[in-house]
């Protein structure tokens, strides 16, 4: 199964929409609740990062028997130093975004903590690609 969602940079009123749709799909598939919870955290943070830091993006979601792969591809400023960005507390969010309560620099650490696998690649002045993989059975990862 394959789904796609568009994300508009700067449009906070739509932020979380795609994550909510993905959550519904996982529930329909009767995925374990704990896995759904972790998927929701990782996906929401990735979605909001496109809204807060990039110009536009697309989420590609692919389900199969044993996993869901959620790939977010954005056009934006990119991340010059991914290791630095991964540190809790690091943020370049604007003051407007911070006033809304975003910009704590906790999004990427939340993604790392909750995703079974997280891959981030980025090119400055072009964009960022984030791939979140979640396995439906805990064992699948360890096989």
């Amino acid at each position: 199964m394959h789904f796609e969602y568009q994300i508009e940079g700067g449009n906070f009123t739509r932020a979380g929409y795609a994550s909510s749709e993905i959550k519904k799909k996982l529930k329909q598939l009767n995925v374990d609740l704990g896995i759904i919870k972790r998927t929701v955290v990782a996906t929401y943070e990735a979605e909001v990062n496109v809204v807060a830091h990039a110009y536009s993006g697309t989420i590609y979601v692919d389900f199969d028997e044993e996993k869901v792969v959620i790939k977010l591809v954005d056009e934006g400023p990119g991340i010059p130093d991914i290791d630095q960005a991964m540190k809790e507390g690091f943020s370049t969010a604007s003051s407007t975004v911070r006033e809304m309560g975003f910009g704590a620099g906790m999004g990427l650490p939340n993604m790392k903590k909750n995703a079974d696998d997280l891959q981030i690649t980025s090119e400055v002045n072009k964009g960022t690609t984030v791939v979140i993989t979640m396995f439906f059975k805990k064992e699948a990862k360890d096989l």
């Binding site: 906070f12 932020a15 979380g16 909510s20 909001v48 906790m106």
Partner: protein, 111 residues
């Protein structure tokens, strides 16, 4: 305790999301940083905050939280109310500060 019982005990204003008044409260989380709530709050909790915009509802819904309490007489924005009604997650308000309302919440729902 249900949201309705909490509303009565703390004399909270209800702005929206009345369908969710029977939601069971299992705990609470207090924060104005959205990623902190996303990462650390849990299903069934009541969320105390001063953030009034719609993203608060998006998070409460994604996390299956029981209700939101806006402190210090902060009023929700129109689209926040609309989403609260759609999701059936009550949006409550109080004139109390975060400190006061959290203290009273703790007394009521501590295990």
């Amino acid at each position: 305790m249900t949201v309705k019982e909490l509303k009565e005990k703390l004399d909270l204003t209800i702005y929206s999301g009345e369908q969710g008044l029977d939601n069971e409260i299992t705990g609470g989380y207090v924060s104005d940083l959205l990623s902190d709530v996303m990462g650390n709050a849990d299903a069934g909790e009541v969320w105390v905050t001063l953030q009034t915009h719609k993203n608060v509802m998006a998070i409460a819904s994604l996390k299956d939280m029981a209700a939101i309490i806006l402190v210090n007489n902060h009023k929700p924005e129109e689209d926040t109310l609309a989403q609260s009604n759609e999701e059936g997650i009550p949006l409550l308000g109080t004139a109390m500060t975060t400190f006061e309302v959290t203290g009273r919440l703790w007394e009521l729902i501590k295990k």
